[in-house]
């Protein structure tokens, strides 16, 4: 499998602040690659260095075999970019923006089908200033696809969208990949990274702290599964502590939480309950998610307001 992006020892500082501290990674052709990290971790700086919007201090970046600094114009013919902060003139109509941006490229894609695909066909003649946040976002995605790019950069794709629009956007990103494109995205929604990305890179304070498939990241965390159920008054949870794999049992009111590890944990716990003759209901399990991985790997950054760069 070929690489769409190779980055090595990428470094960018702003005065005393090191935004990106020598990161290196590879993005394979045809995958959805996600970069997640707390605010100020270096996500936007990294993506902008890849897009050629920003010059790194040092390091080597190859995008589709091109150097974004030297071959910027050629590269921009072949990539699509959705920026976190950008805008269009207030009075430009949706169709005019697409038609205009299509003219910037040697080989544009027909833009009319994009309107339908993104669900903004009815906004064709609406002016940019009159669009809602979600509609503007969809227009920017359409603009990022208007040259039928081989590689698409999506920076904070679904920030500010409602859950419906977010899910629609995910399907759209999958559709882009299914057409053989490579997608590089940043997000701060772990659920989004888990649902959407083939591989996820976690960046913190300018350094890569993890890079793998969401499943492996979660598995490697070796986080505990939690089993939660409700019992009748008078139940004694002590025997559960003896079950193989269980690391902790807690009972508050009628609600029991059992934490533990292992593939057979749930079966063993349920068997133990049955052997006790306990009557339990509302049993559910909580699996560790990418959220837990993120929280474990990027400690102490919560609430730090480093901004986007």
């Amino acid at each position: 499998m070929t690489s769409a992006i190779t980055v090595s020892a990428l470094r960018k500082t702003y005065g005393p602040l090191t935004a990106v501290d020598g990161v290196g990674f590879e993005v394979r052709s045809g995958e959805i690659f996600g970069m997640v990290g707390p605010n100020g971790a270096g996500k936007t700086t990294t993506i902008e260095c890849l897009e050629g919007m920003r010059s790194p201090d040092s390091g080597d970046v190859r995008i589709l075999g091109l150097d974004p600094r030297r071959d910027g114009y050629e590269l921009r013919e072949r990539i699509g970019v959705q920026l976190q902060q950008s805008s269009l003139p207030d009075d430009i109509k949706v169709w005019e923006a697409l038609d205009l941006f299509a003219s910037y490229y040697r080989t544009p894609a027909p833009w009319r089908p994009l309107l339908d695909e993104l669900g903004i066909a009815d906004k064709r003649d609406a002016r940019f200033a009159k669009l809602s946040g979600g509609q503007k976002q969809r227009l920017f995605i359409a603009l990022a696809l208007v040259n039928d790019p081989e590689l698409v950069f999506l920076d904070e794709l679904t920030t500010g969208l409602d859950p419906h629009a977010r899910r629609a956007m995910w399907n759209l990103v999958r559709a882009i990949r299914d057409r053989g494109k490579t997608v590089f995205l940043t997000t701060h929604y772990m659920e989004e990274a888990e649902q959407l990305c083939d591989r996820v890179l976690i960046i913190d304070r300018g350094n890569i702290v993890a890079l793998d498939t969401p499943e492996k990241l979660v598995a490697n965390l070796q986080a505990e599964t939690r089993i939660i159920f409700t019992v009748e008054p008078g139940y004694d949870p002590a025997p559960l502590r003896a079950v193989a794999g269980v690391t902790g049992v807690d009972m508050t009111g009628g609600k029991v939480t059992v934490a533990g590890r292992g593939d057979r944990l749930v079966i063993l716990v349920v068997n133990a309950l049955d052997a006790q003759g306990a009557r339990f209901r509302d049993l559910r399990t909580e699996q560790p998610s990418l959220d837990d991985v993120f929280m474990a790997m990027t400690k102490d950054e919560i609430g730090a307001d480093g901004g986007a760069r």
């Binding site: 902060q85 009075d91 910037y104 920017f140």
Partner: protein, 247 residues
């Protein structure tokens, strides 16, 4: 090329969608002409060197149009585009900076020319304006003057950090220029000190050049104006090219 043409067309439509800019360039000069024309008429008078008020004011009002497109529209549009991240979005495409500059020059040139034509047609129809120059000479002088004002507009856009600053710069340029250059108030009534100030204003040179060419003066009588405006154009174009920023 395809991108430049499309961008010019879109920018032209956008320009026409903001009534205030179109008003100052296309309607305001004609209103000025009607206002002063209704007071003074267009009878030849020794005060205007044997010409009528409209004969000398029409070329002067053309300079006002250049002030509104060059000083105001260009600087405000370009600085707004930068401030709001519109240029940033353009930069993420293969579009060249020269296309952005070229589209603004083209649109504002057409608007300036349209404003001038509306004004001249009005002056001819209503006041039977007299014209004794060469149309080609006037067009050449018009083009030089317009482009030099545009260069100033791009410099203002480059040096202004925000569109608000650009607006203030634009006002500071526009109003003294239209009042002290002889474009609205005849220089003939200025006291000597004000005439000296007037000589330092770019619009004064435009007014002098266009009025002279209107009356059929040879270029040799206007070397100072041509030199000043050509200098402004070259310096302005150089400075704005050097200081152009996408964000």
């Amino acid at each position: 090329m395809k991108a430049l043409i499309k961008l010019i067309w879109v920018e032209f439509k956008l320009y026409m969608r903001q009534p205030q800019a179109a008003f100052f360039a296309l309607v305001f000069p004609l209103l000025l002409l009607l206002m002063f024309g209704s007071i003074y008429g267009n009878k030849p008078t020794p005060f205007f060197g044997g010409h009528g008020m409209v004969d000398v004011s029409t070329p002067a009002y053309i300079a006002i149009i250049m002030g509104s497109t060059g000083f105001m529209s260009i600087s405000i549009i370009v600085s707004t585009y930068r401030e709001r991240g519109i240029l940033r979005r353009f930069r993420a495409t293969p579009l060249r900076p020269l296309a952005v500059i070229g589209s603004q020059v083209a649109v504002n040139f057409v608007v300036t020319l349209a404003g001038a034509i509306i004004l001249v047609v009005g002056a001819l129809l209503i006041y039977h304006m007299r014209f004794s120059g060469s149309v080609w000479a006037v067009l050449l002088g018009f083009t030089l003057s317009t482009l030099s004002f545009f260069a100033v507009g791009f410099v203002v856009a480059s040096v202004s950090r925000t569109s608000r600053t650009a607006q203030i710069f634009a006002m500071v340029l526009y109003f003294p220029n239209i009042f002290l250059s002889g474009a609205t108030v005849p220089k003939e009534i200025f006291p000597p000190a004000m005439r000296t100030i007037s000589k330092a204003l770019p619009m004064t040179h435009v007014v002098n050049l266009l009025q002279g060419l209107w009356l059929g003066n040879p270029w040799s009588k206007h070397l100072v104006e041509v030199g000043a405006l050509a200098g402004l154009l070259v310096v302005g174009a150089f400075v704005s090219a050097k200081t152009f920023r996408w964000e």
